[in-house]
Symmetry: none
Subunit: 206 residues, 4 copies
């Protein structure tokens, strides 16, 4: 009835295949990293022929990029949501930290890839600009800085450097997430949230 229903079988198939391939790619790339993952391996896991991956994604690098961009978009949406939920800046930031943990929990295998790319050590960073992925670094810093700024202006926070606070918060969450990945049995992310509050956020309040 709607225009969206006009999406044909062809297109639906295409999208389904695309997603299945991205799913397989995510698992393989996360396991061994970009260079030690072959297109063959992804194709086998996805149960498609190599040619199909190339028809849909063009190059290995592009498949990888699409994977991260897909994920970055999801993240952006969820984080924006978290950051707009809560009365105070403090609450919003806690929600963000929690959402970041949730995202990684849902898609644990992607965690290493994301950390790698956001830390600037990844594949995509080598070749020129990568506007799609800026979301993951610059823009996130900026968005967080805005929340800190808000809190400062409303008198909720001490007058600190908002961008510095944003960088610090990002660093902490990343490191806690990494720590959590390394020792999933003895460390829960819930404790990370608590500690970030305790060690950092509370101290910002006036």
């Amino acid at each position: 009835m709607s225009t969206e229903m006009a999406i044909g079988r062809r297109d639906r198939n295409r999208i389904r295949n695309r997603n299945e391939i991205l799913e397989a790619a995510q698992k393989e790339f996360s396991k061994n990293g970009y260079h030690d993952t072959s297109i063959q391996a992804i194709a086998i896991r996805a149960d498609f022929a190599v040619g199909t991956l190339y028809q849909l994604f063009g190059t290995k690098e592009n498949l990888y990029r699409e994977l991260l961009v897909d994920y970055a978009e999801q993240a952006r949406v969820q984080f924006a949501d978290a950051l707009s939920t809560g009365k105070t800046a403090y609450e919003r930031l806690v929600n963000y930290v929690r959402a970041k943990g949730d995202l990684f929990e849902d898609r644990i295998p992607l965690a290493r890839l994301i950390l790698m790319e956001t830390m600037g050590t990844g594949v995509l960073f080598k070749s020129g600009p990568k506007p799609e992925l800026n979301l993951m670094y610059d823009v996130w810093h900026k968005i967080l800085a805005d929340i800190f700024e808000e809190g400062i202006e409303s008198g909720e926070f001490r007058p600190v450097d908002a961008m510095g606070a944003a960088v610090a918060l990002e660093g902490m969450t990343n490191q806690f997430i990494y720590h959590w990945q390394q020792e999933p049995d003895t460390f829960q992310y819930d404790r990370a949230v608590e500690q970030i509050e305790e060690l950092f956020l509370k101290a910002l309040r006036t």
Copy 2:
């Protein structure tokens, strides 16, 4: 008479060659990362034959490992030094943060490699144990945690989770270093030190 004096021309040569090769390897690996650096490229830059590299290091992976272990040892020494300088835990931690920045400043090209490896996304983390490099992650966390513990026991710091504080501090410094690498013109690491004090360390004091 001592065994050390027994180092002959042979061994001295070997060591000199080893260092020249590691120097070249550092430059090449830092430029393009592990996978996009070939042994032949390193050999050319070092002005040795590939066979010589294989005689001294066995495999490409091992050459890379030795490089990082070398660096990790330097870092360990410098950090241990910084962490034992200063009267209070607070001062020692500030010295550590400063020393970390200095280390990266001295050897900027290695920075990406280190960040990559310490974030767990590097080559060496893939396969099995990597005790030498734990220095770079686990052990550092532990050493920092000990300092926080000291500060807590002496009443200098609030009774927080010491390991949590260590993780948080590592995360912050890494992120500031990364930020600094990205925007070397507008951001000085000195400001990072100040902000880490302002946002984090001061708030720990009783």
Copy 3:
């Protein structure tokens, strides 16, 4: 009532499609040669699906063959026409040389393909017999030889080896055409015709 009148819409469509595809194929093959032209590229230019091309032509090689055969037939007709126009053998041969130039002028992009194939270096010559294209080589030599023979028998030409004369004439025209393609700005084919007369044909006359 006749079978020819029985050509229905179906068949007319089929022929129209066939021609559109051949047109596109000609452009693509001429641009990049046989091996560097893909069926998909032809399909896109012709605005048909690849499946349609395969339904009509079976294989890539066959599509190519049909293209050349089509062209060869056109050429045969035009050359036969030229060779039967003119009172003397001399005139007929001049007409032929002119017609050959005209043909290449009309369909310049095909020129390289034809030269390639007639020089025996093309795709179709590789595998076994290729009777359709003999038109383009053996048969042409023979037809020309017949004209020379006629001229000799009628006393118009000296008693030379007719086949040798035919081969020589073909070689000259091909080389002039090639020369002309290489330097279209400074060399006109009209001059080629004059020179072939001057250097070769006139000398044959008694």
Copy 4:
């Protein structure tokens, strides 16, 4: 004793390998043409590993180019020799025609490649300038034209267009060589030489 004796074993090996590979490449390329010959096939015939071919020649196209350039140089030398032997321009040209036949007889498999490239339908002509191979087309025309010019100036030949005569002669020889390749049992190149004299060269004389 001479400096040439200073060529070491290494270099001698390298040159021998190079030649063996070129030999194998010549056979394979001549059999199936550039595109239908794989580096694998050449490597197997030459009894080297693929990597060795790549170490010595860089790319497939370059291996092919070297092959033709090597050959072109041989040809240039032999033709220059033939063209400088003989008292009259007529004799020199006959010597050239004969030398051309000899060259092709010695290295029959290369004939198709050479014709293909000199006719401008080959692989190397697609991508920009190819100065090395100009020897095979432009320069040869020019050199021949100079001989005709000489003959004209000395009064030995009629005052015809020298470049036209050169083009005509090249075309004839090429076509006779091709004809000869096609029917090696019934047609000897000796007859080609005679006929070129009879049909073309003699008629130029005053």
